[in-house]
Symmetry: C3
Subunit: 356 residues, 3 copies
Amino acid sequence: MTFPMNTWYVGCTPDEIDSKPLGRRICGEAVVFYRPAADRVAALEDWCPHRGAPLSLGFVQDGKLVCGYHGLEMGCDGKTVHMPGQRVRGFPPVRSFPVVERHGFVWIWPGDPALADPALIPDLHWANNPAWAYGGGLYHIACDYRLMIDNLMDLTHETYVHSTSIGQKEIDETPCTTRTEGDTVITSRYMDGIEAPPFWKMALRANGLPDDQPVDRWQICRFTPPSHVMIEVGVALAGHGGYDAPAQAKASSTVVDFITPETEHSIWYFWGMARSFKPEDAALTAQIREGQGKIFAEDLEMLERQQKNLLQWPGRSLLKLNIDTGGVQARRVIERVIDAEQAGTGSTVAEALTTH
Amino acid sequence: MTFPMNTWYVGCTPDEIDSKPLGRRICGEAVVFYRPAADRVAALEDWCPHRGAPLSLGFVQDGKLVCGYHGLEMGCDGKTVHMPGQRVRGFPPVRSFPVVERHGFVWIWPGDPALADPALIPDLHWANNPAWAYGGGLYHIACDYRLMIDNLMDLTHETYVHSTSIGQKEIDETPCTTRTEGDTVITSRYMDGIEAPPFWKMALRANGLPDDQPVDRWQICRFTPPSHVMIEVGVALAGHGGYDAPAQAKASSTVVDFITPETEHSIWYFWGMARSFKPEDAALTAQIREGQGKIFAEDLEMLERQQKNLLQWPGRSLLKLNIDTGGVQARRVIERVIDAEQAGTGSTVAEALTTH
Amino acid sequence: MTFPMNTWYVGCTPDEIDSKPLGRRICGEAVVFYRPAADRVAALEDWCPHRGAPLSLGFVQDGKLVCGYHGLEMGCDGKTVHMPGQRVRGFPPVRSFPVVERHGFVWIWPGDPALADPALIPDLHWANNPAWAYGGGLYHIACDYRLMIDNLMDLTHETYVHSTSIGQKEIDETPCTTRTEGDTVITSRYMDGIEAPPFWKMALRANGLPDDQPVDRWQICRFTPPSHVMIEVGVALAGHGGYDAPAQAKASSTVVDFITPETEHSIWYFWGMARSFKPEDAALTAQIREGQGKIFAEDLEMLERQQKNLLQWPGRSLLKLNIDTGGVQARRVIERVIDAEQAGTGSTVAEALTTH
């Protein structure tokens, strides 16, 4: 296993299960997500104990997930509760996965349910906060989830992959610094007195600021296990304090990245942006979401082709340059977590990190 | 091998080979079907002994199957009879499969040709009978042929998979009975005094009967090896004797299912319906065929996804409930037939069944 | 390995790399072709030593191939020459493949670079000769490259595969003769006093000649290793000397076939036609190219299906008839070349052939 199992991943977004069950592979497990009630979520193995049909082809009725083949009814605990004309007491149960709907996502714990503590779900301070707006999307990408972490922890790629939107030569030319704080890896880059690239000029204008003046730009990438990367990004009119400038002199936001392994070589990539300017402007949210969607789609071919190359040349090692330090440190954290899991200590991600 | 070989399967329908040869895999064998003459059929390995080209890309000339690559001409016995500029006497032969055109189908015997007795082809009493009409089609489905037999021997799935056409809650609620008679497994269900579902209302109207009165409905599934399932289905106005009601008080037909393995995990599914009411009404035949095609297409995703689940969890066993008895008994018959084949007794399906 | 490595193959055509780098697998090697300058060509492993991204997703700048992920810059020798903010001296190099642009093609030597002698590139006398015109194209075909050599060294298939254009019964009926001259295998067929098939009637008309008179037709196939087949084809008005007839009494050309293995079971097939009549007529060149493209596309399904058959029945041997002699002899030459390579003699194709 190349990913931690005893941890919370984003499994889906709430809207994906509003009208019917959703079948999705998570960390190699076939899962069906569904709503036993409008305000509840549940996740089971996507397997009907009767004849092995996928439960995700079924429907929800009175809180039960009904198999769409012969009508077996499952409870949220993975036990069959009813089937027309049958005594179901001896039916073998299927796995029930801990799931929690919180912060605008449905979180799933693919490992040992006994260890699933909802308090370990990351706190997204911007979620459900009227001073913030959020927009995002989902991409399926055929690559190891760690390649996407590498990608997000080394933003020099913006200069090349996103050259027409957020990339600019100064990213390349400005060294970054990386530090670890417990379970968090932080890579930062500050570029002062530069011209804003197109995406940020748009954000400045949307924020009522001029787009033709020098700005200070920052990128602060925060990795937390198993595979979450939050990136504080922004520009402030030069001379107002950069990252610490007052709100009226800057445009800033947080890039949100939840990377959920589907298999060893494919991911569900939940991306988005949370911002604290003009949060009530839904049209702006839609505009930013569309722009971000196009920009992040530029990574797909690169990541999938990189993955193919790595599979073709399994013996070749990659360089670990200073710009790669964020990804390298993130992988070390992940390895510690996996080692602790496999040592059978039963520790959760949080515990594993505090005991190392 | 998970299927009998010394038996007759439906290989194709006559119209599929009217204009040119047809390449089709049957029980793992690459076969080319063709007509050496307008009223004859033949089947060979789809392999040209010259350079291995598929003979199905060729054409028929003067009763010979001519390879479309370099003109080698095959006889129906699998021996090369001519090739421009060559002496062909020493050419290695290819397998010739016994084939018979009968009852509106082309039957093939993929096993030992010495055992192929045309008298073992099932007698379809409705075929070539002016009192009956038949319409049908062909689906390719990526599932083990036994999953389709299970499907057809347990019609409770109609309530869920075909809920808008032939399904109704009473199927679920009415127990079925299963018995075996020699090589035949029969599962029956009788539902009295119910409302007819949409498909049968249409059939009642087509038969000049009211569609708003209580009916008695029946389903009698008959499995015969290797993989044929005939289902007598119908409704009669309540109080006229149900299954035994006179023709003018009922609408009934026979669902015809010939399931031919392509590989261990895929099938050619020949489905159709034979009916004895208004047999001369070609428009009705077309209408029923279209409706049945849509209904039977509803099974495809379920069966293919079920197959994927079974392959992913090879160690998991399935439940064998009372509703599954028909499928379970059919699989026992199939196992006996395969065991007899593999014991090298050379017995045919019919013999295997009479000696057990 | 089923193909020689120490030899020149056509890797691409010049236009394929005019605007950006081209990623293409050649003899199992992932290669990126590019132009470090407008008049130069280069080829490297399609692997960035930084993080394994394919260099073919990058771009050329100041003669360097810049990785499109993080800006690493490669020199034509496969050494990293620059990367923003990095010392690159210790970066591991990637393979650089010898490449030469000549005769309208980009030639690549996938084997030992020390042995790559541009003098071994075949001399295409018609290239860059104003008395000749050339038009051609590229097909990707999922077959062993030797199946395509077989195809081109036995033109009896024209009678069947290309029956409406260049095929005619007389090809089948006229024996061919095969001889080897050092590294060359030559199969010839001469058909005198026949009616020209449609393609050649068109060529006669284009050449100002009547198309309704008997012609002498010839086909002279020349294989040279590793996998080049040049075919002299033409028709002359009967009685003027056939192949040796004066230019004003014939229409003739050379079919050009460069077959480059992609993998063991797939090829890049560069096909074309060089002609010495009306070379200045660009519309005629386009017309012939379109016609040839359609004709050669007729081989694709046959070759791919033949390949599938061979993979399904790996133990079956193919016949080696008199018409197959050209292909059989060509395979012998290829085997000698491969044996010499694997014996570690380091000899090139040319050397291997002269010492046998």
